[in-house]
Symmetry: C2
Subunit: 472 residues, 2 copies
């Protein structure tokens, strides 16, 4: 046990949110990840058990429809564990997601046991390095059998480029790292995506491990194997589907996260609520303030629930042939904002937040969701301190131009994830009235209507975040 | 039928080398690719048939041992077909290799039927474009449903870099090519490797097709899905395992190949003979002059036999966990030569030729093969007009430095493919007397022995290719 906490501290995390768990379907056979906290050898495994919930068995009145989304098995969250383990099921390539407090360098050597070979390369950035690098390095070097090298990238989405990616390859080759080495991604989504692609392509593929340190990376980007870099003409256009050996989420790392980064990650949690998990959306409506206040129990719950959603979707559709595309709700609009405003100006999750509002607006115009649901989406994004309108200077044509190179485009048709039906239901489709898209873009960009939502927001409160922060 | 030949001309290729086929094991059940020449829809398929050979059933006296190599099923070559089809068996990802004369744009639309989506990007180089680009483009555009774009890379191994690779990504994005597009590699090994990696990483993976135009690419690099680019510190260090939709080998393209390129490819054919196909090695000893004279029947046989060997090995071990590494005979030495002398100075196959001689020399020093076999290897490489010694300026230390970053290195041990036993038998191992490696390097580099093989060769004939061409 060291001064930064460890094994025993994990127990503090037990028994959060029994109220929510009890709302799950009762006495039903569900897939369940067993805790291994008290076992000497900790191996993630899943087993099918019968879970009996206490109250109530009926659908609660806050559910606007059955949880549908993709046709995947659902299961109750365990609420009696300290360290949570989710499993991403890819057959022989399955891997665990560890979620807990201070597990980066606890005495279970979680990280160490997923390093193969005799060398490891930690990839991090200049911001994260002073905070966690030494702990991460020590955890891997603890038994003296692994030689660790480090490469520090500049921090920011604007550095998610092929040129910066080369720094990882260069370092690995300079250190003569062989095919059995393991790359360790220590940082947020940018570090994770770049390290993953570097690992996928170094000597045609070496092992890698994800140690995400931001909400965005912990709830979304570190799970599922999407890796890559940006191109001036489009986001994440160069990359690979490549799965890690494990994902290790130390929730304590959120304590060092700037407010803007924190809010950015919340947009992806909201996304899961909208595309497949109505329960989670309602929970967010009730608990968003606790997340913004960094309540550790609330965050651990939100992270686990998000990872569980993500793991189910990507296991069903690794290479985005179908249902996985629903994870892109708001991203087609969001990627256009990121690319047009220059990568790094908007955080990814900020752009996704506005993108979700735009997708919801278009869904309402199509008559696919109620005005009430559209309003709930707007309200939750706004309460999450995320921007709700795109940059003032963006035009309809700019949006269309960037959306036309989206990865979901098929033979010229822009396919979008849109909300349709009750809360938690969505579709991926290229079959929509194009006028609805035109109207949404015009409304948000203000090129065709007299008064835009942005005008309205800023007229009402010129000091609002969305008027102040994103004008440059 | 057009002026460049086509369907009927294919029939000219029938019935070559019945003498060799008759040497195969008789009346044995073997996997066999059916010809589909005369069918209206041509689909590659394999079926198990009983082949009865006429003479002789016993092992011929020229075979120095049983064909062993990896424990894979072997089969007789069909000698009654015009267009040959081999299949690379990867389950759902299996793909055909078409081999024939003038099949690039014949009326079977072989190429067209493997293009998915509504766009294709032909990647070629400045040398190949004037020769085959228009034919290739016309073949794809024939029915008017596919829009074709082209990117021309500079020609040469020295351009197999990340920077030049970006030209492919840039072009695809500028043309707004979507995930359903198909990249077509029209050229030699460099074009094929780069196009394959560009396809593997563009939007995390799009389809691609190989149309190899050099011996090197036709007998080796276009089959099996190894893609990538070089790094200043090592050959093919950045890349992916990524399989094409088909390989289309038009043997007529060899007519335009420079002599040096032709010889370069022969080294890989020799390699198959040494690692697993004694029959092929003996055939090469008897027919090397016909290959150098570009006898089309001899070449078609050598290409098919090579593809058959390659397809069997890579199907058994796609990601080089074991037996596939044997395809690297001579490559560890060869890659060091290429990197040290500057990519593009030596052709890849030239470096492999010298590398095979060095591997054979080391095998003899270890007592693993006879002096006679070592001599036969040297003789065949020399008769193939390939260099038999590394560049004069290369030192033992340089060799070791480059060999240390080879992809087969494991935890600091340089693993090598070495000959062991009879003709056609080899091992991949890190367990050898290191003195043998020292002695081989010293002998070929001349840093520790008074008189090197290079000295000997050049003293005997200062105008020999190996003294003239590779000194700069």
């Amino acid at each position: 046990m060291n001064g930064r906490g460890g094994y025993r501290e994990l127990i503090k995390l037990t028994s959060f949110y029994p109220d929510l768990a009890s709302r799950s379907r009762s006495a039903t056979t569900q897939t369940h990840t067993m805790s291994c906290l008290l076992r000497s050898t900790c191996v993630a495994r899943r087993t099918t058990v019968t879970t009996t919930a206490t109250t109530p068995a009926t659908t609660p009145n806050w559910a606007h429809g059955p949880i549908r989304g993709p046709p995947l098995a659902r299961r109750a969250l365990s609420t009696t564990r300290a360290m949570q383990i989710e499993t991403v099921d890819f057959g022989e390539r399955s891997y665990p997601i560890y979620i807990g407090q201070n597990i980066l360098d606890d005495d279970q050597s979680l990280l160490r046991k997923h390093i193969t070979g005799k060398t490891a390369l930690i990839v991090t950035n200049e911001t994260i390095a002073p905070l966690y690098l030494e702990r991460c390095k020590s955890a891997i070097e603890a038994d003296g059998t692994i030689k660790v090298e480090v490469v520090k990238l500049p921090d920011g989405e604007q550095y998610k480029t092929v040129d910066v990616l080369s720094m990882i390859w260069d370092k690995a080759l300079e250190c003569r790292m062989d095919r059995r080495t393991t790359f360790v991604a220590l940082g947020g989504g940018v570090v994770g995506d770049m390290t993953g692609f570097a690992a996928a392509s170094y000597q045609r593929g070496v092992n890698f491990v994800q140690v995400p340190t931001t909400v965005m990376a912990q709830v979304d980007s570190s799970v599922g194997g999407k890796t890559g870099v940006n191109h001036p003409l489009g986001k994440n256009m160069i990359g690979a589907f490549y799965q890690p050996q494990c994902v290790l989420i130390d929730t304590d790392s959120l304590n060092s996260l700037p407010d803007r980064e924190l809010a950015s990650g919340i947009s992806e949690i909201i996304k899961y609520g909208l595309i497949r998990d109505a329960e989670l959306f309602v929970w967010l409506e009730e608990n968003i303030d606790r997340l913004l206040e960094r309540d550790p129990k609330a965050f651990t719950y939100a992270i686990q629930r998000s990872c569980w959603n993500k793991a189910e979707v990507v296991a069903a559709d690794e290479k985005e042939g179908g249902v996985r595309a629903t994870l892109n709700l708001g991203h087609t609009f969001g990627h256009a904002i990121e690319a047009a405003s220059g990568y790094g100006t908007w955080l990814h999750g900020e752009a996704v937040g506005t993108g979700i509002i735009m997708a919801s607006d278009m869904s309402r115009r199509l008559g696919w969701i109620t005005e009430e649901l559209d309003q709930r989406v707007q309200d939750l994004i706004r309460r999450s301190r995320l921007p709700v309108v795109p940059p003032k200077e963006m035009t309809v044509d700019e949006f269309k131009s960037y959306m036309a190179v989206d990865k979901k485009v098929q033979d010229g048709t822009i396919r979008l994830i849109l909300l349709k039906g009750a809360l938690g239901e969505c579709v991926i489709t290229g079959e929509y009235d194009p006028q609805a898209l035109e109207d949404t873009l015009a409304h948000f960009c203000g090129s065709a209507v007299g008064r835009t939502m942005q005008d309205e927001v800023c007229a009402e409160d010129p000091s609002a975040d969305e008027c102040r922060v994103y004008e440059d």
